[in-house]
């Protein structure tokens, strides 16, 4: 496969230049050919990132040169595809510093990873009727609803850790650590919490929280959907028990996600879906299952996406996660300063530390109208409840506009955003 051009890989310390990064993503040049006067400003990486040429090429290479199903054929292509899938598993393992590739389960995404946990934990020795699970008010619906279903089906208790709602607190909008600590003092089996809130960018100090939970013998599952492409995630340093994320938010394809689990806990979970590829021996009387991770990978997966995620990981590593984090925090700081200068803007609070997301409302203009007006200027933002209705309710709004950043963003993107917001204000009069 093509190697990244030197400006990326050469100087690992130099700040990222969004304009150079944009060149790695064909969508920007393709769009510029159609919209030369107002090139695409993509501020919706929180929903999904754009794809670098290397990821697209890896998928294409698979379909064009060695496409076959995995684990089934003895012929060359099937072997090569199977090997590629296992290489992707190793790439994921290295990315998040898992102890072994066997800790890495491929799912279809964060949503499936969380559903897998909520569906299987009650059938394992790890969680039983009457036990308590704690989530937080910062969660995406994907880290709320599966636990509600589990609560209702298995009579498990579900408690919610609040955010700090005091507008005068420096942690306004962040997780309320004292309230969480109190919740965890009561007998609890599992804490499922986000690493970074998609709706506001509130960064959760998960390492400290995991340590605190473990002191009470509580398992911790982290929703890392908004973290893995934006900071270095080391599951062993975090010491988490489960960690889930999506390929499409880390510059990889849709259709693939990752569930990391500690070895003994994955081994304690029963199968989720069942069928081909996850069995040892099947008879009509009894079936024995593969050990993890294969136990959780029933049926033909999205092979191309799994292959693509390796290219995405190589992209992240070539750019460097420390540089990405610095780049995005720089963008956020600039965005906060520039947005604050716009009259009538309200920026949603994100606690003490904010990751690459700024969520806001603008006067009486509904976020959907903002989204449409910005789109007219070829600026893509997210408008709505961001699949986090409870969080927005806590913050007293039904919907917000959200700008979220990625490697390809530049200060000038934020200037365009601000100019377009002012245009919307002028229209509304």
């Amino acid at each position: 496969m093509d190697h990244l051009p030197s400006p990326l890989a050469s100087d690992a310390k130099s700040p990222l230049d969004g304009a150079i990064l944009k060149k790695q993503f064909p969508i920007f040049a393709n769009d510029a050919a159609k919209n030369p006067t107002k090139p695409l400003v993509y501020l919706d990486s929180g929903a999904s990132t754009q794809k670098p040429a290397t990821v697209i090429a890896a998928i294409r290479d698979f379909y064009e040169n060695y496409y076959a199903n995995i684990h089934r054929g003895v012929y060359r292509f099937s072997q090569r595809a199977s090997d590629a899938v296992e290489q992707s598993r190793v790439a994921v393992q290295k990315l998040i510093n898992a102890p072994s590739a066997d800790n890495i389960v491929f799912t279809s995404g964060t949503t499936e990873g969380l559903n897998l946990l909520a569906a299987t934990l009650p059938y394992s020795p790890l969680l039983k009727k009457g036990d308590r699970v704690v989530i937080s008010e910062l969660e995406h619906h994907a880290n709320i609803v599966p636990w509600q279903m589990m609560r209702d089906r298995h009579r498990i208790d579900l408690a919610v850790a609040p955010i700090d709602r005091n507008p005068d607190s420096d942690n306004y909008g962040g997780i309320d650590r004292d309230a969480l600590a109190k919740l965890l003092q009561k007998p609890t089996r599992l804490l499922a919490i986000t690493h970074s809130a998609n709706a506001t960018g509130a960064s959760v100090p998960v390492a400290e929280i995991i340590a605190a939970a473990h002191r009470h013998g509580i398992l911790v599952a982290i929703d890392g959907a908004q973290a893995v492409a934006h900071q270095r995630v080391d599951v062993q340093a975090l010491d988490c028990d489960f960690y889930v994320f999506s390929g499409h938010k880390i510059y990889g394809p849709t259709g693939v996600g990752v569930l990391y689990g500690r070895g003994e806990y994955l081994a304690a979970l029963p199968p989720y879906q069942t069928g081909g590829d996850m069995i040892e021996v099947v008879s009509f009387e009894k079936t024995s299952f593969q050990p993890p991770p294969q136990r959780f990978e029933a049926g033909t997966p999205d092979i191309a996406a799994i292959i693509g995620i390796k290219a995405a990981i190589e992209f992240l590593q070539a750019v460097g996660l420390a540089r990405i984090a610095a780049h995005e925090h720089g963008l956020v700081a600039y965005a906060l300063a520039e947005l604050a200068a716009i009259p009538e803007i309200t920026i949603m609070p994100a606690g003490r530390k904010r990751d690459g997301v700024v969520s806001f409302t603008l006067g009486k203009i509904h976020p959907h109208d903002l989204g449409t007006i910005l789109d007219d200027d070829n600026i893509a933002i997210r408008a709505g409840h961001h699949c986090a209705q409870p969080l927005l309710r806590c913050l007293g709004v039904a919907a917000t506009a959200r700008a979220s950043f990625g490697v390809y963003n530049e200060f000038s993107d934020i200037d365009r955003l601000c100019a377009s917001l002012r245009r919307a204000q002028a229209m509304w009069g």
Binding site: D376, H385, W428
Partner: protein, 153 residues
């Protein structure tokens, strides 16, 4: 006119800023709630019908974007004095126009109202916004048919 200006015509912005008939109505004989789960917009439509089934009062409340507010506002103005059958005709015409179809050539006595509602035709260039425009109408229809409903999802 650009698509954006056609969408946000002055009349739309005016109704969005100052929605008409924006109130609950305790005397309503029919009411229904509409909700768009995708964006969280909500609208409740209140109708008072006389013995002949004519609308003698139409109100709404809720929150949403300029398109759904303006649509609800224009709708409550337009349906006043109309029968259920006339409302069906107006909605059919409205829906055809905002989804990019041809107007349904409503009868002459409804032509002016249909034309007024057509201020919202700009949404046809924005497929994701069409549901904002029709949400209040779905709530209105379910009010008329006597049900609470999830509305125009």
């Amino acid at each position: 006119m650009t698509d954006l200006r056609e969408l946000y015509q002055d009349i739309i912005l005016d109704h969005a800023r100052h929605p008409r008939n924006f109130a609950a109505n305790a005397q309503a004989t029919h009411q229904a709630h509409g909700h768009n789960p995708l964006c969280g917009d909500t609208v409740t439509v209140y109708l008072k019908l006389d013995d002949q089934g004519r609308v003698t009062a139409a109100n709404f409340q809720g929150h949403g974007c300029a398109i759904s507010l303006a649509s609800a506002s224009l709708m409550t103005e337009t349906v006043l004095g109309k029968t259920g059958a006339q409302i069906d005709e107006l909605f059919a015409d409205f829906q055809a126009r905002v989804t990019g179809g041809k107007d349904t050539a409503p009868p002459p006595e409804l032509a002016d109202d249909a034309e007024r509602l057509a201020a919202l035709v700009g949404v046809k260039a924005y497929p994701s916004r069409v549901k904002c425009a029709v949400l209040p109408w779905h709530a209105l229809q379910s009010a008329l048919s006597g049900g609470e409903s999830g509305g125009g999802a």
